[in-house]
């Protein structure tokens, strides 16, 4: 495997196609040497990243994902090219802390080492995440968060679109 590899994936922001992003995340986790639990974490984290970035857009928008990995970590950047707007179910009516976007942010905070969601223009969000490879975590299943994981990234940290 090269020292550092990358894959780019572009797909419509159609909910039924998000599985493509998840499956891609699994394959890349495998290529990076991640264990099963780490791969599952990345799979869910990439799904949440896409959902958060594309929530305000209709299915005609496009999600562009860039996966960058080496032996120590996988970084994923997500940019949504807006086209039209959707009518997302934002959980209005649910109590604070239990809305899907809040649950999504909580999941990302627990599953990866760092992540960012930012506005790069009106209704134009982009984000990135980094998950480090920790072989010891697949040997002993994590049951709680806050295990002293670093919150820094040294690959894939470019936030430009």
């Amino acid at each position: 495997m090269p020292e550092r590899s990358h894959v780019e994936l572009s797909l419509p922001a159609d909910p039924s196609l998000l599985r493509l992003a998840r499956e891609n995340a699994c394959l890349i986790a495998e290529a990076a040497g991640f264990g099963r639990e780490e791969a599952e974490d990345l799979r869910l984290a990439v799904d949440e990243l896409c959902v958060l970035c594309s929530a305000d857009h209709g299915p005609n928008a496009r999600i562009r994902l860039r996966f960058l990995w080496d032996k120590s970590a996988v970084a994923v950047r997500c940019v949504v090219d807006p086209a039209g707007s959707g009518a997302p179910d934002d959980g209005t009516g649910l109590p604070a802390g239990l809305r899907p976007a809040e649950i999504s942010a909580r999941l990302l905070g627990e599953l990866v080492d760092s992540y960012t969601i930012e506005f790069s223009g009106p209704n134009h969000k982009r984000g990135w995440l980094v998950k480090r490879h920790r072989p010891e975590l697949d040997a002993t299943r994590r049951t709680a968060a806050g295990d002293g994981r670093e919150r820094t990234a040294d690959i894939g940290g470019s936030k430009d679109g």
Partner: protein
């Protein structure tokens, strides 16, 4: 309907059991939401069987949270979940929702008492 996801409803000892199978995500969560919405709000106990769910994201969790509130009674929650896959249970753990939902490891346990 996503061909990789299905929702069915059965009755077990008088308890409606809504069983989801496949990946519960932003594309399929509306199917589960719609099926749960068909049940009367006053139903004493509803079981959502997630034992054949292989993936759940925040959108799926949002549907379950809404259902938990809808079937909440004065004497406690009227919704129980069946979860027996570690990766699904982990999602409830890391979001703190495990403390909110009655989660059972088997359908037998969820529909008893």
């Amino acid at each position: 309907m996503d061909e990789n996801f299905s929702v069915s409803e059965t009755d077990r000892h008088g308890v409606p059991v809504v069983k989801a199978s496949g990946e519960l995500d932003i594309a399929t969560a509306p199917d589960l939401r719609d099926r749960l919405a068909e049940l009367p709000a006053g139903t004493r106990l509803v079981v959502v069987d997630l034992s054949d769910v292989t993936f759940v994201d925040s959108t799926g969790l949002g549907v379950l949270v809404a259902a938990l509130r809808r079937f909440q009674h004065d004497d406690g929650p009227g919704l129980r979940l069946v979860v027996n896959r570690p990766q699904i249970l982990k999602v409830f753990e890391v979001t703190g929702l495990k403390e909110l939902f009655p989660i059972c490891p088997s359908l037998e346990e969820a529909t008893s008492g």
